[in-house]
């Protein structure tokens, strides 16, 4: 093969891979991966004749770091509730006042005025859920509604437990398990947290995110996880159960915000309003498998989600749920040290 043919091959590959896009308007969405329903996006594109691009991120920290540096070209992002106050405080968000938008009337009352964005000046609910314990009941039949599955693993599950390596979630759970308050700076409790984690680790097989597939295949028999992920696991294998730990569990929500540096502000606002429509909200849920905060979306929800125990929190568990907050930097610093100690 000589250089001419090689060059031609390269040129052809290049040519074949160049695509041209045409639309009246554009909207650039920056969201978690595999989280945005293509059907709902298609509907939005057709309705407003807008070309939507979706770019993925895989952590709140990466998203914040990128947007804070600026120049990203994104119009919309979907940070979690712990991060929304930081985005607001750092002046990264445009005050679009979703509270005054046409479809805002659909937002469920308990989501209309959240602590992380009082009066919904910036954000629109995208999805919300819980973090609990998932157990394969074929492997373990005992009581599983406790963080003890993770932190004091029963013999049947030793060497088969996975922990999703989300530092703040894991330490939140450990504090709850030990009877403390989230973001505590009580060194006595934090020391117990560290000792508990370090002692529990030998019973874990892995610390990774890829739970749906590995619980399904049987690599893991139990894991800490998000509820929507647990739902998908149960649909694949009915023996897999999601549990709301009795010591308390974390609540979270992801929220659609418009960036201050957005170039397509009008389209972004249209999008915020668009997803507060019950049918569209249900469309999003059907894809990402989490609850939305829109009243009236129930009747459009897929049948397997309508009263799924993972999506609808049972009445007796509800009071134990607690919204996770962002801890003070000093506390966060201790968390990082505990985490390094745990994973060294």
């Amino acid at each position: 093969m000589n250089w001419k043919t090689a060059a031609t091959a390269m040129a052809l590959t290049l040519l074949a891979s160049t695509s041209v896009v045409r639309a009246d308007g554009v909207l650039n969405i920056y969201n978690w991966g595999n989280y945005t329903s293509p059907d709902v996006i298609k509907k939005f594109e057709q309705k407003y004749n807008v070309k939507v691009t979706i770019t993925d991120y895989d952590s709140n920290d990466t998203a914040l770091a990128k947007v804070r540096q600026g120049g990203t070209g994104f119009d919309i992002a979907v940070p979690s509730q712990t991060f929304v106050p930081i985005w607001i405080k750092e002046g990264l968000l445009l005050e679009t006042d979703p509270g005054k938008m046409e479809n805002f009337k659909n937002v469920a009352p308990e989501w209309a005025n959240p602590e992380f964005d009082p009066g919904r000046k910036y954000s629109v609910p995208w999805a919300w859920g819980t973090i609990g314990v998932v157990v394969n009941t074929d492997a373990y039949k005992g009581p599983a509604d406790s963080w003890g599955i993770i932190f004091n693993t029963p013999d049947e599950l030793k060497g088969k437990v996975n922990v999703v390596p989300e530092m703040n979630d894991v330490i939140f759970a450990a504090i709850k398990y030990l009877g403390g308050q989230q973001c505590t700076d009580d060194k006595a409790i934090l020391k117990k947290v560290r000792d508990t984690l370090v002692a529990a680790k030998p019973n874990w097989i892995a610390m990774e995110y890829n739970t749906i597939e590995k619980m399904g295949a049987g690599d893991f028999k139990a894991t800490s996880d998000w509820n929507g992920s647990a739902l998908r696991q149960r649909l694949a294998n009915p023996a897999i159960h999601y549990n709301y730990p009795k010591e308390g569990f974390g609540l979270w929500s992801d929220n659609v915000v418009v960036l201050k540096e957005a170039k397509n502000v009008e389209n972004a606002k249209l999008f915020q309003n668009f997803i507060m429509d019950p049918e569209n909200a249900a469309g999003l849920s059907a894809f990402h498998r989490y609850a939305n905060a829109i009243t009236g979306s129930e009747k459009y929800m897929p049948a397997d989600m309508k009263d799924a125990p993972e999506v609808v929190i049972p009445a007796d568990a509800k009071p134990r749920g607690e919204f996770q907050r962002m801890c003070a930097p000093e506390v966060q610093d201790i968390y990082t040290k505990i985490w390094t100690e745990l994973q060294k």
Binding site: M1, N2, W3, T5, A6, T8, A9, M10, L12, T13, L14, S17, T18, S19, N28, Y30, W32, G33, N34, Y35, P38, T53, I54, T55, D56, Y57, D58, T62, A65, K66, Q69, G70, G71, T72, G73, F74, D75, Y209, N210, I212, E213, K214, G216, A217, S229, R232, A236, H288
Partner: protein, 265 residues
């Protein structure tokens, strides 16, 4: 032994064969599972083309794959050209001032964990993006070219160092201009090194996750960053399907050009 072959080394062929088998095993698995009817990537649910169909309709994954190849080919070509020139400038010479500096500078992108270059580029390119208002593919291509250069440089340099100088001297003696000497003598001799460098650079660019994650702007997901975003919520066999399709396509292109170039010979 019937015939004594000077090229034979005991066990080498066995190791090489094992290597090739092992190299292709995961690829075979990948291709087989692309035709899996089950949703999970871990169990076999019968033969089906549904993942090809669903990948074909998933514009996000198609765009990401195309972008990967686009950036990979441009960055690999640029990096190989720059690396070839640099290799010519830094080999077969008495030490001169700045030679060690050049050597260190060219290899520098290798020495830093990707995350660090990623963060540094994020900070730097963001300023440039805001200042110029341009947020196109140029940044990704520049970043990829930079970290591909050492990968292209090392095999080319290794080839040059082993190269015989006499032919080039002979050419010069026959009044060939430096360019003619380069074009007719050096380049053909250097070609295997350049090809190896180009391949390496291309592969390295296709693999990059972390730097791309930090440098990309809106609508600039490559296949690896797209997959990174997916890991949390589960990867579907769509990825297998799209990789299989592109694997077959690249093999087809390579084979085609191979035969065309043979005919020319």
């Amino acid at each position: 032994m019937a015939k004594f072959s000077i090229k034979h080394q005991p066990g080498f062929t066995a190791i090489a064969t094992t290597c090739f088998v092992v190299l292709y095993m995961p690829i075979v698995v990948l291709v087989v599972y692309a035709f899996n009817a089950a949703t999970s990537t871990s169990e076999w649910g019968g033969f089906s083309l549904k993942w090809f169909q669903s990948a074909w309709q998933n514009t996000q994954v198609i765009d990401a794959t195309l972008l990967s190849f686009q950036i990979g080919s441009v960055a690999a070509v640029l990096a190989t050209i720059a690396a070839t020139m640099a290799a010519l400038a830094t080999t077969r010479t008495a030490p001169y001032r700045g030679l060690t500096f050049k050597y260190a500078a060219i290899n520098q992108p290798l020495m830093v964990p990707e995350i660090v270059t990623g963060v540094a580029l994020l900070i730097f390119f963001s300023r440039v993006k805001i200042f110029t208002g341009y947020s196109g593919l140029g940044y990704l291509i520049a970043a990829h070219t930079a970290f591909c250069i050492p990968f292209a440089y090392l095999p080319i340099r290794a080839r040059l160092e082993n190269m015989d100088l006499t032919l080039e001297r002979a050419a010069a003696d026959l009044y060939a201009t430096p360019w003619q000497t380069f074009r007719r003598v050096t380049l053909p001799l250097l070609w295997p090194g350049i090809l190896a460098g180009l391949m390496l650079a291309f592969v390295i660019s296709l693999d990059d996750v972390v730097i791309t994650e930090f440098v990309k702007s809106g609508g600039q997901d490559t296949l690896p960053t797209y997959m990174l975003g997916q890991i949390r919520r589960g990867i579907t066999p769509e990825i297998n399907a799209i990789s299989t399709a592109f694997l077959l396509l690249s093999v087809a292109i390579v084979t085609l050009f191979f035969f065309v170039s043979r005919k020319q010979d």
